[in-house]
């Protein structure tokens, strides 16, 4: 970096723990979400959804619904000319054509003057179904003869994998299911296979071989704001969408593709998003709402109910991993064999590569053979959920490492540290691990009192209870996406930053801090705006822990560009060389001559004066770098267990995480705490439970059990900083890592307390009690 980028004194920017700028708006209830927005002539939409997981639609009669006063449109598939068979994604399957493939799939849509009228209209639509056998269990769905889910010839959708994992597998390592594969079954939509070394020989030479099958059910992202969108067409055929989305540009592209509209004829306004966690990346209800608005010529708002969210959202896949590992008595790793099955629901789109990388190359297995399959079932199709497939995979590999260490009588942390891959060592795809702080994180966790005092905790159990401590290590490989940003100097010397970045997690304050430090003003002088798709530079998703990591670089470079322009203007004014200038307290000064200066206000004004010859300051940057920054987190759970009921009580929980550089420690802590509790939800309580007909049995927040404040202790956070070479100021992504370790940490703590190894999430009281009683847990 050249000398003009060096400031002589620190500005108030990167590294400060400061609250986000929209806090006061949020605590007063003034922030508007989609459901809060009204437009003149607004209509309300409802969708009629299939009660069957798999059925043929024989007949739909909408006459009575159409006749209901206040109903403005009743649409079925035949009313939507853009609909195609062989829909590659859920978004393309706007309404079912003649077959429904999951319970909750929309078959008809209503727009009415009032929500109550739209609801009444749904009751008046008569659908005759011919119920068909459903593929509900993913392992059975893989078998020949299982009821087919996709229409023959449907392309697997790998865009989610590309958007999220950014792990390039070498050619032939992942393939679409339509590639030649002798054992391919009808519902297997993607496969992957990676291997290295001689696995059979490795097992033959092992002293201890452990094999377990790990299962994590489908879980919902659980954002508090259900999916919502408001669509309005103008008379020129321009569509505006007010959307609750994690990526307005992605929403625009998907809707344009489904409806066959040019992207510059669609404006997506990213409204405040009430949580997404991966579930609001892909388009879901936007296309049908736009179609209803087009059919009625009126603005239409659609807000999903919680029941619809749980029955027909886009949850995380069920993940089943059979894992076999062999080691020498001295702890030398010998061989690993794994088969991963991702249950993707009715449409393809799960992420296979992340699982292979963590199974085969988080630890240094000299020989491995890892197969992965994405399997379709008659359930709602899945999407990303914060670090997709990483918590499930780490549940398997970390539980297995703990089990191996215990079998060998080795210290579990030392055993992990001894085998944890170092930067530069090969991943399963033979690409080198990028710089990461996994070892530093593990060392920090091992030094925590929960871990050091685990024997005392175990010994302190009151009568009738047992106590234990569990530690786990997991992480995220880091997301990437091209992105742009602009930074301008205003006539009053303040600075404005523009991106299209949807701010859910508090990233805008961090981006403002980056701009402040890179330009050379205090953060109070910087305002950042999230623009809509017409005004903002192209910006990626708020997903994959890549906002600060990638958009942060664009903002940093745009601010540096604006700084360079500012100094060039000042150099002319001061008759000095750019290299001799610095920005100090809102003034450009000549180094060592604090009296010679020109204020940012003067420079900003001259860029906006009639007849002025000074160009306005407008920094811009666009990035598309390829260097990932893996980020690791370790979590330690201190638990008490009632062996009679199987109930686990959390007495302490700590997250240790490598943030690279914590741009805003307050925001980083918030991410760590929230991610940890989502991780604990997967570990302890959450599952979408289906009956044998493929119907959800727990479609409410009473029965889909999320953790409450009363279930939890304070979540302690320890930030480790191992700078990444390419992130802004060394930052790494922080959103995903904390959701990864808890399932294994809890299972390890249960084993520490009660000497049983549980391999299925959630670790409910029933499951633990049955295991302790030596009985198989009932289907729950």
């Amino acid at each position: 970096m050249s000398t003009i980028m060096k400031t002589t004194r620190d500005v108030r920017g990167v590294g400060l723990a400061i609250p986000r700028a929209d806090g006061a708006e949020k605590v007063t209830g003034r922030v508007e979400y989609v459901a809060d927005i009204k437009r003149k002539g607004l209509l309300h939409a409802k969708l009629l959804r299939s009660p069957h997981a798999h059925a043929r639609i024989v007949r739909i009669d909408t006459a009575k619904a159409r006749a209901l006063p206040g109903v403005r449109a009743v649409l079925t598939a035949t009313d939507i000319p853009e609909l195609k068979r062989k829909a590659p994604t859920r978004a393309h399957a706007v309404l079912a054509i003649d077959r429904v493939v999951f319970a909750g799939q929309p078959v008809a849509a209503v727009a009415a003057d009032e929500l109550a009228i739209a609801e009444e209209a749904l009751d008046l639509i008569d659908v005759e179904y011919q119920v068909l056998p459903a593929a509900v269990d993913p392992l059975q769905s893989m078998q020949p003869g299982a009821p087919p889910v996709a229409d023959a010839g449907t392309e697997a959708d790998t865009s989610e994998a590309l958007a999220h994992s950014a792990v390039a597998m070498a050619k032939g390592e992942t393939r679409r299911a339509d590639a030649p594969e002798p054992t391919k079954a009808v519902n297997v939509s993607q496969t992957a296979h990676v291997k290295r070394g001689d696995v059979a020989k490795g097992f033959a030479e092992s002293d201890v071989v452990i094999e377990h099958t790990y299962r994590v059910p489908m879980v919902h992202q659980g954002y508090l704001e259900p999916h919502a969108v408001l669509a309005e067409w103008d008379r020129t055929g321009h569509l505006t969408l007010w959307a609750s989305t994690q990526g307005s540009f992605n929403t625009r592209s998907e809707v344009a593709d489904v409806l066959g509209v040019d992207e510059n004829r669609i404006t997506v306004i990213p409204v405040e998003c009430g949580g997404g966690f991966g579930g609001k990346i892909r388009a879901l209800c936007e296309p049908i709402t736009a179609v209803l608005a087009r059919a009625t010529g009126r603005p239409v708002r659609y807000v999903m109910t919680r029941r619809e969210e749980l029955e027909a959202g886009m949850p995380a896949p069920q993940v089943i991993i059979r894992l076999k590992t062999g080691v020498k008595r001295d702890g030398t790793l010998m061989a690993l064999e794994a088969e991963t099955v991702l249950e993707s629901g009715a449409f393809s789109g799960a992420v296979l590569a992340v699982s292979a990388v963590f199974l085969g190359s988080l630890y240094r297995w000299p020989a491995f053979d890892i197969k992965g399959s994405e399997v379709l079932t008659h359930k709602p199709s899945v999407a990303a959920y914060r670090a997709p497939v990483a918590p499930q995979t780490i549940f398997a590999i970390d539980s297995q490492m703990e089990a191996l260490a215990r079998a060998l009588g080795l210290d579990p942390v030392e055993f992990r540290a001894r085998h944890l891959s170092h930067p530069g060592e090969p991943m399963v795809n033979n690409q080198p691990w990028a710089s990461h702080g996994g070892h530093e994180v593990l060392a920090s966790a091992a030094g925590h009192r929960f871990w050091k005092e685990r024997a005392a905790w175990k010994a302190s159990a009151p009568a009738g209870r047992v106590r234990g401590t569990g530690l786990s290590l997991g992480g995220w490989l880091g997301g990437l996406q091209p992105t742009g940003a602009t930074v301008k100097l205003n006539p009053d010397g303040t600075v404005s930053v523009l991106t299209g970045q949807v701010d859910i997690a508090g990233t805008n304050i961090a981006l403002a801090q980056i701009a402040a430090s890179a330009y050379g003003v205090d953060f109070e002088k910087v305002r950042i705006t999230t623009g809509d798709t017409d005004v903002a530079p192209v910006t990626g998703l708020s997903a994959g822990s890549k906002t600060v990591y990638t958009v942060g670089v664009a903002v940093m470079q745009a601010a540096q560009d604006a700084r360079r322009q500012t100094l060039e203007v000042a150099a002319g004014e001061l008759e000095a060389a750019v290299e001799d200038l610095d920005i100090v307290d809102g003034r450009v000064v000549v180094r060592g001559m604090p009296d010679r200066g020109v204020t940012l206000t003067q420079i900003g004004r001259k860029g906006n004066l009639y007849m002025s010859k000074v160009q306005p300051i407008l920094g811009s940057a666009r990035t598309a770098f390829t260097q990932q920054a893996p980020a690791f987190a370790s979590e330690i759970a201190r638990i008490e267990l009632d062996p009679d009921t199987g109930e686990v009580t959390l007495h302490g929980f700590v997250v240790v995480q490598d943030a690279g550089r914590a741009i805003n420690p307050l925001g980083v802590e918030g991410q760590m705490q929230g991610g940890a509790v989502q991780s604990l939800g997967i570990a302890l309580t959450e599952q979408l439970a289906y009956d044998d007909q493929g119907r959800l049995t727990n479609p409410s927040l009473l029965d889909y059990r999320k953790l409450t404040a009363a279930d939890l202790p304070n979540i302690e956070t320890i930030i480790v900083e191992v700078p990444s070479p390419s992130g802004p100021f060394g930052a790494r992504g922080v959103g995903e890592p904390p959701i990864v370790p808890a399932p294994a940490a809890i299972a390890n703590a249960v084993e520490d307390a009660a000497a049983v190894r549980i391999t299925e999430c959630p670790l409910t009281p029933e499951r633990i009690a049955m295991k302790l009683a030596g009985r198989p847990a009932g289907k729950s």
Binding site: A35, L701, A709
Partner: protein, 160 residues
């Protein structure tokens, strides 16, 4: 169905509004009165995002018929601050408690009712006091800390 007149007090202002007799209090507030601070996260009383005060008691407004509020006092998040931010709101901002913010109006109303009834709650009492309010972003730690600090500040202020 014929609309009915609802007369009540909302955020210290007398209100008369025509509503559908089947309207929930939440729908009446949001759709008929433009008070969109209370949120609908579930519609079944499980998430707490719609929490308002009815005669000082916290209720899930999605489970209350609007007509049940007749001649009673309703307070929503819009009426929590009288002028400057309420100490709870101020503490939430400083602690970085809001992330996506969708649950926050309900959490604040539950917390305000808790501190009315119990000005110096223990951490456990705070956790149980907001146990009916789901938050998916924060893991509750900063929310609990903010409530504890607001309780300390206001009860010290009351003593001074």
């Amino acid at each position: 169905m014929a609309k009915q007149v609802l007369s009540c007090t909302i955020n210290d202002e007398p209100v008369e509004v025509l509503i559908q007799p089947y309207s929930t209090l939440l729908d009446a507030l949001r759709e008929d009165l433009g008070l969109t601070g209370p949120k609908e996260g579930c519609g079944t009383g499980d998430c707490g995002a719609c929490t308002v005060h009815l005669d000082g008691q916290p209720v899930a407004s999605c489970l209350v018929l609007a007509m049940q509020a007749r001649n009673r006092n309703v307070r929503t998040i819009e009426g929590l601050a009288k002028g400057a931010l309420h100490p709870l709101q101020d503490a939430f901002v400083r602690h970085g408690a809001p992330q996506c913010g969708f649950c926050i109006p309900g959490v604040l109303m539950a917390a305000a009712a808790l501190l009315e009834a119990n000005p110096r709650p223990t951490e456990e009492e705070i956790r149980y006091g907001i146990a009916g309010n789901l938050c998916r972003c924060t893991g509750y730690t900063k929310i609990v800390a903010a409530i504890a600090e607001a309780a300390t500040l206001t009860s010290e202020g009351a003593r001074a």
